[in-house]
């Protein structure tokens, strides 16, 4: 497999839809194939990084547990768009561990392929 760099952008909040989980599944498969993609959370996607999440009322899985395991797949750090975080009145200390701010424009420009969820 030729090695293109892949950026996975998550732009939706967790729980309300399956976007976050599907984005993470995609990133995990890339990593399992030996090419961990870069993972970036932007817009409402930063809400997936909030600490203290749980399963849904029917026992449906969220995405927080999965996110905690990504470093074992060499997908780290969890990049986030700082403006999206600020716009939602949140700060880094409210997020799970392993998050780092990113320059989203530069990050897009540095990757060959971008997948959004």
């Amino acid at each position: 497999m030729s090695s293109k760099s892949i950026l996975v952008i998550v732009r939706h909040p967790p729980h309300g839809s399956s976007w976050v989980r599907e984005g993470l599944e995609t990133a995990l498969v890339g990593a399992a194939l030996g090419q961990p993609p870069t993972l970036l959370f932007s817009g409402d996607g930063v809400l997936a990084l909030l600490a203290g999440q749980q399963r849904g009322a029917l026992g449906q899985k969220g995405s927080a547990a999965m996110l905690e395991g990504l470093s074992l797949y060499d997908i780290e750090p969890l990049w986030y768009d700082r403006y999206s975080l600020e716009a939602r009145g949140l700060t880094l200390d409210q997020l799970m561990s392993g998050c780092q701010p990113a320059d989203i424009a530069g990050m897009i420009a540095r990757h060959d392929v971008v997948m959004s969820f």
């Binding site: 952008i9 732009r11 932007s42 817009g43 768009d81 403006y83 999206s84 989203i104 424009a105 530069g106 897009i108 420009a109 990757h111 060959d112 392929v113 971008v114 959004s116």
Partner: protein, 95 residues
């Protein structure tokens, strides 16, 4: 090295267009498709960074009754859409 950004959300319902402002680089292209073409109606698409070209997909304007003549935005047809994906290095979808 440039990026084509596709937006299919109305700017009046979603913040994708605003968010995109911080995600574009000089030389990038933005194409409004589907409900994204409604950005041609307000002022949302007028406050755009320098050096970034924004256009609307003509077929989606026409089907929605937004005549190209009534907008300030340049419109392109699907052939132009294909050409943009080929001339840029990558495509990012905002939805």
């Amino acid at each position: 090295m440039s990026t084509l950004h596709l937006i299919n959300r109305s700017p009046f319902a979603a913040s994708a267009l605003q968010e995109l402002v911080s995600a574009v680089s000089e030389g990038d292209h933005v194409l409004l498709i589907e409900d994204g073409v409604y950005a041609a109606l307000g002022t949302a698409a007028s406050k755009w960074p320098e050096g970034v070209e924004i256009r609307a997909l003509r077929e989606d304007c026409v089907s929605r009754g937004i005549a190209p003549a009534s907008t300030l935005l340049e419109t392109i047809d699907v052939a132009g859409f294909v050409a943009l994906t080929a001339s840029t290095d990558r495509t990012v979808s905002w939805f």
